[in-house]
């Protein structure tokens, strides 16, 4: 020990912890309120400093973002809602009008999608032609494995080409389904992991081409369940066509714990 320290700071001296005392959680609260309320005028907000008054008008206003529907990606709120959503492949948050064509398999998937879709897209689900004519985005959902999917996708492609909008394929995948247990508080074991996968935008003048490519892209997005994204884009796996089967069998297959070794977590550290 070569350095000299003040007696109260000497690392060699024995340190006695303070005796436990009751902590008043409201201590200092009045002072905080006084500080926050300083220069506050009811109905008109706080006084602006003199330097701010001398700034150009456009620099005085607040330009911070208003909180939007990102709550489901917030781990805390997601935990409360027993769902953890991860969005992948989203290529643009711009407000350009487009046709979001989504593959969903349940009402719960649709609810997740409605929360996770960018608020800036401002999608509507009704009066689709009118909305597209007004320059708004629309959301069209279907189960690509259902018999009616061909018609729905064809109509979506027709609308997109007629109004010269891009089609954005989306799939919602629930990776783990936990039984709803009767507990008052949610626990981590009950968290569902939901992936919302966006495909690349499809633009073409021919609606048949758009429909066909929509099926292809959705097939690729679904193929990421069994393979990995890299295997799909590098052509190592062929996209499986969406097989027609009852909903319970799809759920059964997707939640099989032995289904996908690629999903197991391995250590990165050697």
């Amino acid at each position: 020990m070569t350095r000299e320290f003040a007696a109260w700071a000497d690392p060699r001296s024995t340190h006695r912890s303070r005796p436990a005392s009751w902590h008043n959680p409201f201590q200092g609260a009045l002072k905080d309120i006084r500080l926050v309320g300083r220069n506050w005028r009811w109905g008109r907000g706080a006084l602006s400093p003199g330097d701010v008054e001398r700034l150009p008008v456009q620099q005085r206003r607040s330009a911070l973002p208003v909180p939007v529907r990102a709550s489901l990606r917030d781990p805390f709120v997601g935990w409360l809602r027993r769902v953890k959503v991860e969005v992948t492949g989203l290529s643009s948050r711009s407000g350009d009008a487009r046709v979001a064509l989504a593959h969903v398999e349940s009402g719960a998937d649709l609810a997740v999608l409605l929360e996770a879709i960018p608020a800036s897209w401002n999608v509507v689900t009704t009066r689709v032609p009118k909305a597209l004519a007004q320059g708004r985005s629309v959301l069209i959902v279907t189960d690509f494995a259902s018999p009616s999917a061909v018609d729905v996708v064809a109509q979506a492609a027709q609308l997109a080409t007629r109004f010269e909008r891009a089609v954005v394929p989306v799939v919602v995948r629930r990776l783990a389904v936990s039984p709803q247990v009767a507990s008052r508080l949610p626990t981590l074991r009950n968290v569902d992991e939901v992936l919302v996968r966006y495909g690349d935008e499809i633009r073409d003048a021919n609606p048949v081409t758009v429909a066909q490519r929509s099926f292809d892209v959705v097939g690729d997005l679904l193929a990421e369940d069994d393979a990995t994204w890299w295997q799909v884009v590098s052509g190592q796996v062929t996209s499986p066509l969406v097989r027609s089967m009852p909903a319970w069998r799809r759920l059964w297959e997707r939640t099989d714990p032995d289904r996908d070794n690629a999903r197991t977590r391995r250590r990165i550290w050697a």
């Binding site: 020990m1 070569t2 320290f5 109260w8 700071a9 690392p11 340190h15 902590h23 409201f26 201590q27 609260a29 905080d32 309120i33 926050v36 309320g37 300083r38 220069n39 907000g45 706080a46 006084l47 400093p49 003199g50 330097d51 701010v52 700034l55 620099q59 206003r61 330009a63 911070l64 973002p65 909180p67 990102a70 990606r73 917030d74 781990p75 805390f76 991860e86 992948t88 492949g89 290529s91 643009s92 948050r93 711009s94 992936l195 990421e224 990995t228 994204w229 890299w230 884009v233 590098s234 052509g235 070794n261 690629a262 999903r263 197991t264 977590r265 391995r266 990165i268 550290w269 050697a270």
Partner: protein, 506 residues
């Protein structure tokens, strides 16, 4: 969409100003005439996807990205680690860039692809870190085999010698050297980001990093060797000021614009943090991703990209202040470059204040020579000894013996560097490399030599004393301590948020 930052001179109408002290927040009244530096703010804008596609198709110079690819090539993508982009982004731009690089590589038939996090002496990344940076798609595609890794600065099997300087072998990541093409993905939010130095310090051996960036190190020979031996290009995403939303939106708002909701949120946070344990602050801030505006994306050689990215960043971040201050005041956020997990050591907090905030002025320091720095941080002993084991031992064993960097570099550094315990923690347990703590201490030395006083408000007195700083209970006490050297009316500059701002002293 954005409004520039500015320097506010405190007058009678200026409300108390927000100060951050690790996870704590408080309002502080500054004396009349104090200059408060506000960073630029605004609605997040910019489309990382289209900007990246454009940058890859039209690099600053040279061929487009797709023209550099051929089937059968060995491609390595390196990327900046979690110390860049703090607080973490809600949608990390590295994911966008890497996905576009990989998509083009797949179309060109490139199979041999490896991704390496350029962690250097910082902690190696785990699966959750990789997923946070690169997204579910890329991390799940590559993490299941050794194609997605963190650089290991102490693993002889993954390093190879590429030159020699001052009798020390210059060793670099083997895969990077042997690749046909290396792409380094950077995120630029500060003056130290992007370029050859970030690349070299992230992918060299510990001895090489110490030779170039350690005490009295000279990076020039190492830079030269790396430039000669590695064919690397770079993609850099330049980001602006982060903006919090939700319950902590008041952190980003200017105080006179606080709504009643934000005032209530501030008061609620104060009560919650005063009542709850220290870890609650981490829950409140550290895990809360924020939105960043995208200012631009550049691709090209490492030096070209750094030059363009830094010019763009400076144009956005620079705030002019009048004259050098006698006293620089700054807070320390809970999550910053030296504490990306929100569990940083006192050494990291000191590094943030005396290296990062002190250096915001660039060539002209914000505070004059002989001036003082007043910072808000508890310098507490509740930090992760798993991540910062060497820093804990340095504070407990080395600094009580000596604070002289020459003596530390010759007496203690070799012992720590050769200790297999620290090396094992670094390689296997996600700890920072033992040299990292020493380099942080060395980084503080220019500021310590130039300043008269360094005072931490609300700090643990023992820790402050061991590190050679002063501790004060309140801001007024800190000014009282500084006044013995600087007089009763010093010129004060407060940098309200040292993230996303550069200070130009006129």
């Amino acid at each position: 969409m954005s409004r520039p930052g500015f320097a506010l001179e405190v007058d009678e109408r200026t409300p108390p100003t927000l100060v951050r002290s690790a996870s704590d927040v408080r309002l502080e009244r500054f004396s009349l005439g104090t200059q408060i530096v506000y960073p630029p703010d605004g609605q997040p804008w910019g489309d990382a996807v289209s900007a990246t596609a454009e940058a890859l198709a039209s690099p600053i110079a040279g061929k487009p990205w797709t023209a550099r690819l051929w089937s059968g090539m060995r491609l390595t993508i390196t990327f900046a680690d979690i110390s860049v982009l703090t607080p973490p982004a809600a949608d990390d731009p590295r994911r966008v860039v890497v996905e576009q690089l990989l998509t083009a590589a797949a179309e060109a038939g490139v199979d041999d692809v490896v991704l390496i996090a350029a962690t250097g002496l910082r902690r190696r990344l785990g699966p959750d870190d990789m997923r946070r940076l690169l997204g579910e798609r890329v991390s799940r595609s590559f993490a299941s085999d050794p194609r997605l890794t963190s650089h290991d600065a102490s693993d002889d099997t993954t390093l190879m010698t590429i030159g020699e300087s001052e009798g020390v072998q210059i060793r670099f990541n083997r895969r990077v050297v042997e690749s046909d093409l290396v792409v380094h993905v950077s995120v630029v939010t500060g003056a130290e980001h992007a370029g050859l130095d970030e690349f070299t310090s992230g992918l060299a051996s510990a001895e090489t990093i110490d030779l170039a960036y350690g005490w009295k190190g000279d990076p020039a020979p190492v830079r030269q060797v790396v430039s000669d031996r590695v064919d690397a290009i770079s993609v850099a995403v330049v980001l602006g000021q982060p903006s919090y939303s939700g319950p902590v939106r008041f952190v980003s708002s200017r105080e006179w614009e606080w709504s009643i909701k934000e005032q209530a949120a501030y008061l609620g946070s104060r009560r919650a943090l005063a009542t709850a344990p220290v870890q609650a602050g981490r829950f409140l801030y550290a895990d809360r991703p924020v939105a960043y505006p995208v200012l631009g994306v550049f691709s090209g050689t490492l030096d070209e990209v750094r030059q363009s990215a830094q010019a763009t960043l400076a144009g956005h971040q620079r705030v002019a202040v009048k004259g050098s201050a006698d006293v620089l005041v700054t807070g320390v956020p809970p999550v910053h470059a030296a504490a990306p997990d929100g569990d940083g050591s006192p050494l990291g907090a000191a590094w943030w204040v005396l290296h990062h905030a002190y250096g915001l002025g660039g060539e002209t320091p914000i505070v004059r020579e002989g001036g003082a720095v007043i910072a808000f941080h508890p310098l507490g002993d509740r930090f992760s000894t798993r991540h910062y084991g060497a820093a804990a031992d340095m504070i407990a064993e080395v600094l009580p013996e000596t604070s002289d960097p020459d003596e530390i570099a010759t007496r203690f550094l070799p012992r720590f560097a050769a200790d297999p315990w620290y090396t094992d923690l670094y390689r296997q347990r996600g700890a920072y490399h033992p040299l990292h703590a020493f380099h942080q201490w060395f980084d503080l030395q220019p500021a310590i030599a130039a300043l008269g006083d360094v005072i931490f408000v609300g700090a643990n007195r023992r820790t402050a004393e061991v590190m050679g700083f002063r501790a004060a209970t309140t801001y007024a006490d800190a000014l009282e301590i500084a006044s013995t050297r600087l007089g009763r009316r010093p010129a004060i500059t407060y940098v309200r948020d040292a993230v996303g701002v550069q200070v130009a002293v006129s």
